[in-house]
């Protein structure tokens, strides 16, 4: 768990904007995501977390600013562009199909083919290998239907699906929101393992305990602006909460004049 900024950033957003009609949701947001590290994205409801994520994933393009991936400026206006770059999103509602088994869910939409049919053996082996690579041992079989899995196991499958494609950046939207204590622990360990395997991870969470347990860097959004992106080791719990609720905390955060009515 390094706290220094080592190596080249994988993704850099610089002064991105996003408006929906008259409503400006993101204002001049900067974000730096590095490989091998978990970057937590925090902020109150309506701060713009989802909009920022959707912009990164290409679901809707940013209005302005620069999007730099692996040192090169990229135009990402379609989810397929983002996938091609190696960006995968694990959505909060998981997007798994209950009537399909683990293997088919992991390969859904990108099945491996052999002749006219599917290459079931290859898919099953790759799915098992990916799960083993993440040290997932809780699944009884990769051929059981996803419906029979627990919430934590489903989250595991969703995350494994995201890393199956040699992805470089995995974005997790509230992965522990619906889980119990033990399962939350299990998923957080998995998130840490992703980063330790060299991937860049963006973790959206409302839960400060989760953030402080697993993140390396914490980016706080406040009313559509990036209040601050700080190293976990340099801040306290209380400072992050202040950044989320007021946009500033001592020297950190937005200048009083721009931080809105609260300051």
């Amino acid at each position: 768990m390094t706290t220094e900024d080592t190596g080249q950033p994988l993704l850099t957003l610089s002064k991105v904007n996003k408006s929906f009609g008259a409503v400006q949701v993101l204002r001049e947001v900067d974000l730096t995501v590095r490989p091998g590290r978990v970057t937590a994205l925090v902020g109150d409801n309506g701060a713009g977390k989802s909009t920022l994520i959707k912009g990164i994933a290409g679901i809707h393009a940013f209005d302005g600013g620069t999007y730099t991936f692996e040192g090169e400026e990229a135009q990402v206006s379609d989810p397929k562009h983002a996938n091609a770059l190696g960006i995968e999103v694990v959505y909060q509602d998981l997007a798994l199909c209950d009537n399909l088994d683990v293997v088919h869910n992991m390969f859904l939409g990108r099945e491996l083919k052999k002749g006219m049919g599917l290459d079931e053996a290859e898919m099953e082996q790759r799915a098992s290998k990916t799960l083993a690579g993440l040290s997932v041992r809780t699944l009884k079989s990769v051929r059981q239907n996803v419906a029979s899995l627990s919430g934590g196991q489903r989250q595991t499958v969703a995350i494994a699906r995201a890393v199956l494609w040699n992805s470089k950046l995995v974005i997790l939207d509230e992965p522990t929101a619906a889980l119990g204590v033990a399962q939350t622990e299990q998923v957080l360990k998995l998130v840490r393992r992703l980063a330790d395997n060299g991937l860049a991870v963006i973790l959206i969470s409302h839960n400060m305990n989760d953030v402080f347990e697993v993140a390396d860097s914490i980016a706080c959004l406040y009313l559509g602006q990036m209040a601050a992106q700080v190293e976990k080791a340099e801040v306290t719990h209380g400072q992050v909460v202040e950044l989320i609720t007021a946009g500033r905390s001592g020297d950190l955060g937005l200048a009083p004049s721009t931080s809105g009515a609260v300051a």
Binding site: A95, L96, C97, L100, D101, L108, R110, M116, S141
Partner: protein
């Protein structure tokens, strides 16, 4: 097909460690208790109906001749139901499939009998009509987002009009082509029947063995060889019995005309069963159909074109309705404005649901059409032997459909409760 040779069970058994028959049986009972009933209700219904009718009217019902009748009576329902399964898997419905069959049959009759087109050309026109109807419905449902119930209800009425216009004033057009008439009315020679038996059992044995061997070679968990052997033997015994019975003489005056052998339509049904099952369980298109049926949003996020899958499924449904239309024309040896009308569609939907296809989408298989179609045909075949009142027949079929839909809903609830939805 027997209950022990289903793709799902193979599928699930593949996940289980090599524990032999006992393990396989425990897994199966566990799944049934968890709400995954599979073929169980329809097989039980079929067996109990056969027992009831045999007990009440054994001298007429349990005869080789009647067994052959059952096959031809169920064939049209089965093919229509196979098409409907594509649409039901999406959680949609096609109320127009019956009259789509009628329209296609009318196209066949007009081109073949009135215009004198060669048979292949007439068949192409018939199938193309089915594709066009499905394309029209699919595009409206998928692109405009109108509920399929409404779209196909409108088509149900419109196609009825099309049949009338195509057939014209005459009322009924005869089908004289001997090949079309042979599909539903002629039988294979007994030798050909046994050859078909050998091909089917041999191919099944070979294909499943190869799959088993391949999985073993790549080090994946396989189903136990004992389970595989039981499935092969069960299939061989059931099919063998069927061929044996159908090869019996069933003419009342054998010295005048001999009627024996497996009806040719069985080949059509078998080819559709194998081809469509492959399409739904072994191709990415099939996986996408199941995915769209249970969670369209998940499918969309996985990069699947949901609209395209919807359109393809409606095309599949109407195209199979065209095949059913050909069978109607063959069976009646004529086409009239009522072809594909009255209870045809409801029986086909009933067959799919009785067979185990869910009305809620995402669950069902092609063989459901065969099991359910046989149940519907047994009722239609057995009841008139007991009572003359056709009212009773409607009521009983309606009740069976209601029971099947209830089993579907209840097993679904149970599956959700036990986390197997």
């Amino acid at each position: 097909m027997s209950a022990t040779t289903t793709p799902t069970e193979e599928h699930a058994a593949g996940a289980v460690a090599d524990g032999g028959l006992g393990q396989a049986w425990r897994d199966y009972t566990g799944r049934v208790r968890g709400g995954e009933l599979g073929a169980l209700p329809s097989v039980l219904a079929l067996i109990s109906l056969v027992i009831i009718f045999t007990a009440l009217q054994s001298d007429v019902f349990f005869k080789p001749g009647n067994f052959a009748n059952l096959i031809t009576q169920s064939a049209t329902i089965i093919v229509l139901a196979m098409g409907l399964i594509y649409v039901l898997l999406l959680g949609e419905i096609d109320l127009s499939a019956g009259f789509a069959a009628g329209t296609c049959a009318a196209v066949l009759a007009v081109t073949l009998t009135q215009r004198g087109w060669p048979l292949p050309l007439a068949l192409v026109a018939t199938i193309a009509t089915g594709v066009a109807i499905g394309l029209f419905i699919g595009v409206i449902v998928a692109k405009l987002g109108i509920p399929s119930f409404v779209v196909t209800l409108a088509m149900f009425l419109a196609l009825q009009g099309f049949v009338l216009i195509i057939i014209g004033e005459g009322g009924t057009i005869p089908i004289r082509d001997p090949q079309i008439r042979a599909i539903m009315n002629s039988n294979m020679t007994p030798l050909l029947g046994w050859l078909l038996f050998a091909v089917v059992v041999g191919a099944y044995t070979f294909m499943t063995y190869r799959q088993l061997a391949q999985r073993r070679k790549t080090g994946l968990v396989t189903q136990s060889p004992q389970v595989w052997l039981v499935k092969v033997v069960t299939l061989a015994v059931l099919l063998g019995l069927a061929v044996l019975v159908l090869n019996q003489e069933r003419s009342s005056k054998p010295e005048l005309t001999s009627i024996k052998g497996v009806p040719y339509v069985v080949i059509v049904i078998l080819l559709l069963l194998v081809g469509l099952s492959y399409n739904l369980t072994r191709t990415s298109f099939g996986r996408h159909v199941y995915a769209v049926g249970v969670n369209a949003e998940a499918a969309r996020r996985a990069g699947i074109s949901v609209a395209r899958i919807r359109i393809y499924c409606f095309v599949a449904c109407s195209t199979l309705a065209a095949v059913a239309g050909i069978l109607f024309a063959s069976k009646d040896q004529s086409v009239s404005p009522s072809t594909g009308g009255s209870t045809t569609l409801l029986y086909a939907v009933g067959a799919a649901v009785i067979g185990g296809t869910s009305l809620f989408g995402g669950r069902g298989q092609i063989r459901d059409a065969i099991l359910g179609g046989l149940v519907v045909a047994v009722i239609g075949n057995g009841l008139p032997l007991i009572t003359d009142a056709s009212g009773i027949q409607f009521i009983v079929t309606g009740l069976v459909l209601l029971i099947a839909a209830s089993v579907d809903a209840l097993s679904r609830r149970r599956a959700q409760a036990s986390g197997r939805a």
